[in-house]
Structures are given as C-alpha cells and as structure tokens.
C-alpha cells in the first residue's frame, strides 16, 4: 500500500508491517495505525509515521542506547494488553524532541511494543525518576543558548 507522508512523500509499505496502537498516543487518540520508517543513515532515530494523517509523525529512538539503566516498569495489566509474557520481551521507544539547543527524549512516556504482534501503547510512568525532556545530546553550536 502507498502511504502519504508530508515529510517523505509517498512511501510504499507492506500492510503486514503496520503497527497498531489501540489507544493511539497521548493527545492523538484518533490515530491508531503507524509505520516505523528507517532513515538510511544507520542512525538511532526513526520516524513513527501515522498512516491516517500524512502530517503526523514522531521521531523515536531506542532510549537504552543513550541512557544506561533506563528500564520501564511495565505493569502486569499492560503486559497482558500487549500480549507479552514478561517485560524483557517488550521493545521500547522514546519520543524525541528538540528543545533549547538539545535533543531530548520523553522517558516518562515511553512507547512499549510487542514486536511480534506489532502492537504498542504509550505508558505514563507515575514516578518521576525519568523526565519528559531527558537530554540526549546537545546540538552542535547550540551551547546553552535558547534556540528552540
């Protein structure tokens, strides 16, 4: 199938590769179907592109590549909903943002996926160990200046 995107034009996607978020993402509950797009730069950033809205896409990354010790406490009910037996079987992504000259990741609201069933949910971690704007890396030349 062809998926229209505002950032990458039309992308050909095998329907079996789609990802389903039964509750959508927080604030975007209407959009349930996404595709993970992989830039050909071998980087650690990916695009989670909505199939239903060409404009809607998020940069996501594997937070464990950046932050050692980052673990998501997935509750039993959430594991059941994802059809996972144990938390270690989950694939975790964090939504990436650009803030004040830095690349940040939302570690308090991680995306947790069952890679086999291709379903995911965005969790809301109730403790404050991890922030919604965890700094991953400062952008070159950004120093401490506010560039937003």
């Amino acid at each position: 199938m062809k998926v229209r995107t505002s950032r990458f034009g039309e992308v050909e996607i095998d329907p079996s590769r789609l990802l389903v978020f039964p509750h959508g993402l927080l604030g975007f509950a209407r959009f349930r179907t996404f595709a993970l797009l992989q830039p050909d730069d071998r980087g650690v950033f990916y695009w989670l592109q909505s199939v239903e809205d060409p404009e809607l896409a998020f940069v996501v990354t594997d937070p464990t590549a950046w932050v050692s010790g980052y673990q998501v406490p997935i509750r039993p009910g959430e594991l059941t909903e994802l059809g996972l037996e144990k938390a270690e079987d989950a694939t975790i992504f964090a939504i990436v943002n650009r803030r004040d000259g830095a690349i940040t990741a939302n570690l308090q609201g991680p995306i947790v996926m069952n890679a086999a069933s291709r379903t995911g949910i965005q969790l809301v971690l109730s403790d404050r160990t991890w922030s919604t704007r965890h700094e991953l890396v400062r952008l070159p030349g950004a120093a401490a200046a506010k560039t937003a």
Partner: protein, 92 residues
C-alpha cells in the same frame, strides 16, 4: 461537576468496576486508592498533561537528526530487533 463529601475510608464507585477510596487525609493532602480493571488507565493529571504536551510538540519536528555528534550507535542485536519492526527505509 458532581461534588461528593466523603470521610476517610469511604469510597465512591464509578460505573461497575472503578472504586476510589479515601485512604488518608492529612492537612491539604488527600491519599486516594483506586481499584480499577487493568484496561482503565489511571494517572496523576499533571503527568498525563506533560506527556500529552510533549507529544504535541514532538509531532511538529521536521528535518533529520542522524548526523549529530555524540549520537551512539545501536547494539547489533537492538538494531536487528528494530529493523524487524520497521516498515520501510526512507532517504535521510
């Protein structure tokens, strides 16, 4: 908005399966217990709101992020796992 008065250890029911119990009252702080099925998400509102706002901002991100110094590389196993989930390659 419906407003109800409750004493400590009293509860309210929302529908058939959500119970909210006043566990403790101390000064201006009320501790609430929530019994709800797993499918019902229960969050502190300010945390929920901050994640919602962060999502909204993140959705406006454009451009590429690949060539930033300091970017780690993915462990081989993780990269393979993500490739399994990815649907297509795009030119960065």
């Amino acid at each position: 908005m419906l407003v109800l008065s409750r004493h400590c250890e009293e509860a309210i029911m929302i529908g058939d399966d959500v119970e909210i119990v006043v566990v403790d009252i101390r000064g201006d702080k009320v501790r609430l217990g929530v019994n709800a099925p797993a499918r019902v998400a229960v969050h502190r509102k300010e945390i929920y709101e901050s994640i919602r706002q962060e999502n909204a901002q993140a959705a406006s991100l454009h451009g590429t992020l690949g060539a930033i110094p300091g970017t780690p590389s993915l462990a081989h196993q993780r990269a393979a796992a993500i490739q399994n989930i990815a649907a297509a390659r795009i030119s960065a």
